[in-house]
């Protein structure tokens, strides 16, 4: 039986892992390669590295980082942040990433999802959605881009369904309202998206307690849970998370 995945997320800026609240107030959380290796040794199922600066200069740094991670970590990892062409995807996959995540570029050019899927297979195309709860329409969320700074007017569920058809193989769904708050995932959002698509959904944003992980899987229908603050600042180890979920009947790779 396929197990549910625990995915620590490493937001990288100037070659350091950082973490903020609601995408702001960044705190230093360590060296990306060391932290990645530690999580892998502790039993993480996957890792996500996000280049949160995504400038031309940081592009080179992130390729070097991917190479270093791939030399030291033998579990899959996704890399994202500012990726906007098939050539960039090719470079990152060749450097050792298993998957890439597309966000702003996919909104601006949805065909990038199809081009990437046809060349690399949809299993390595992750669509990252930064979702903000709509004030006007209850039970709806709006897609935001450019690190959550720009609302697009797109409905999150509609965008997820469209992206699946185009070639996205997985959705990394971040609730901007919950991100960094440690108050729990937005499971209404997770449920709305996981019910609407047939590709895996990674719940992201808001993990603070072990029960939050359980809720994301059971109430939110998530296939994987992503977290940052609670692992970086050592509230819980990966093993604790996995043992807890397994004890509550969730299939885990322990």
């Amino acid at each position: 039986m396929l197990t549910k995945r625990i995915i620590p997320c490493l937001d990288v800026k100037d070659n350091r892992v950082v973490k903020g609240v609601n995408f702001l107030n960044l705190r230093d959380a360590g060296d990306p390669v060391e932290l990645g290796k530690r999580y892998s040794d502790e039993g993480a199922d996957e890792l996500v590295f996000l280049d949160i600066t995504a400038t031309i200069r940081s592009r080179k740094t992130i390729v070097e980082l991917v190479e270093k991670v791939a030399e030291n970590v033998f579990i899959p990892f996704t890399v994202g942040g500012g990726i906007n062409s098939v050539d960039q995807i090719d470079e990152l996959l060749r450097s050792g990433a298993e998957k890439v995540s597309l966000n702003t570029a996919a909104v601006q050019n949805p065909n990038l999802l199809s081009e990437a899927a046809q060349r690399f297979g949809n299993q390595c195309v992750v669509l990252a959605i930064d979702a903000r709860r709509s004030k006007e329409r209850k039970g709806h969320w709006q897609v935001t881009v450019k690190a959550g700074s720009e609302p697009t007017g797109l409905d999150v569920v509609e965008w997820a369904v469209k992206a699946e058809k185009l070639g996205a193989g997985e959705i990394l769904l971040t609730s901007m309202d919950a991100d960094g708050t440690k108050a729990g995932y937005d499971n209404e959002l997770n449920k709305a998206v996981s019910d609407a698509v047939n590709i895996p959904v990674i719940a992201s944003g808001g993990a603070g307690e072990l029960e939050h992980l359980y809720d994301a899987v059971v109430k939110g229908g998530a296939d994987a849970v992503l977290m940052a603050s609670i692992t970086h600042f050592e509230n819980y180890t990966i093993t604790q998370m996995k043992e807890y979920l397994a004890s509550r009947g969730i299939p885990m790779n322990l």
Partner: protein, 205 residues
């Protein structure tokens, strides 16, 4: 020396990194003379099937000839799928035809892609899994799978709502649908076993 065939698809370097980690020498190459001299061949692959087949191009015939002559071959993910007759991924596209069977979509009653760690039951007579427990989790990431039709093939299965072939062996032709290079310690063990198979191969020069 093991040769990891470099044919312009993703993730080739990860396979070499994994071999290096377990102390096995491997060479990333697309040169026919390296491929002919190799103790064993690895055909990796993160790509769509059609792209992978056309990227392998004229090397396909050479790999096929050497594998049929008994040089150990390990196909991984799409590299494994290419061992079969054909695939319907954005296709049809023809494969190497080394093992009978077709590559078909995972039924959409399941979440697709089949992505993550799934438990593989390993038959004791598959030497790729020597020294491993009867079952172990490995990392999968694929939307198509090989529907194996070869009576001469040994198969290890995983459960994804149906019995999905996770690894196949026919003589010295091996394949894994999962990624051993991304499956932590158990995966590294599989690669180590393959390296040993190559070392002991009578084909070795």
């Amino acid at each position: 020396m093991l040769v990891v065939i470099d044919y312009n698809v993703g993730n080739v370097k990860s396979v070499c990194n994994a071999f290096r980690n377990i102390g096995c020498e491997s060479k990333l190459s697309c040169r026919p003379e390296d491929i002919e001299k190799a103790d064993g061949l690895v055909l990796p692959g993160v790509a769509a099937f059609g792209y992978a087949v056309s990227a392998l191009g004229t090397l396909a015939e050479l790999v096929k000839k050497l594998a049929l002559a008994g040089k150990p071959l390990l196909g991984i993910c799409v590299g494994y799928q290419m061992l079969f007759d054909q695939s319907s991924e954005y296709g049809p596209h023809k494969g190497l035809g080394l093992i009978s069977g077709n590559v078909v979509p995972v039924p959409d009653t399941q979440v697709i892609p089949h992505m993550g760690w799934n438990l593989v039951k390993m038959p004791p007579d598959m030497n790729l899994f020597a020294g491993l427990p009867e079952e172990k989790h490995f990392y999968f990431a694929h939307s198509f799978y090989a529907d194996v039709a070869d009576a001469g093939a040994k198969i290890a299965y995983t459960d994804y709502g149906f019995q999905l072939p996770a690894s196949v062996q026919k003589g010295t032709i091996y394949g894994t649908q999962f990624h051993p290079e991304k499956s932590g310690k158990a995966g590294l063990n599989v690669l180590k076993n393959f390296a040993q198979i190559c070392e002991q191969s009578p084909e070795r020069k």
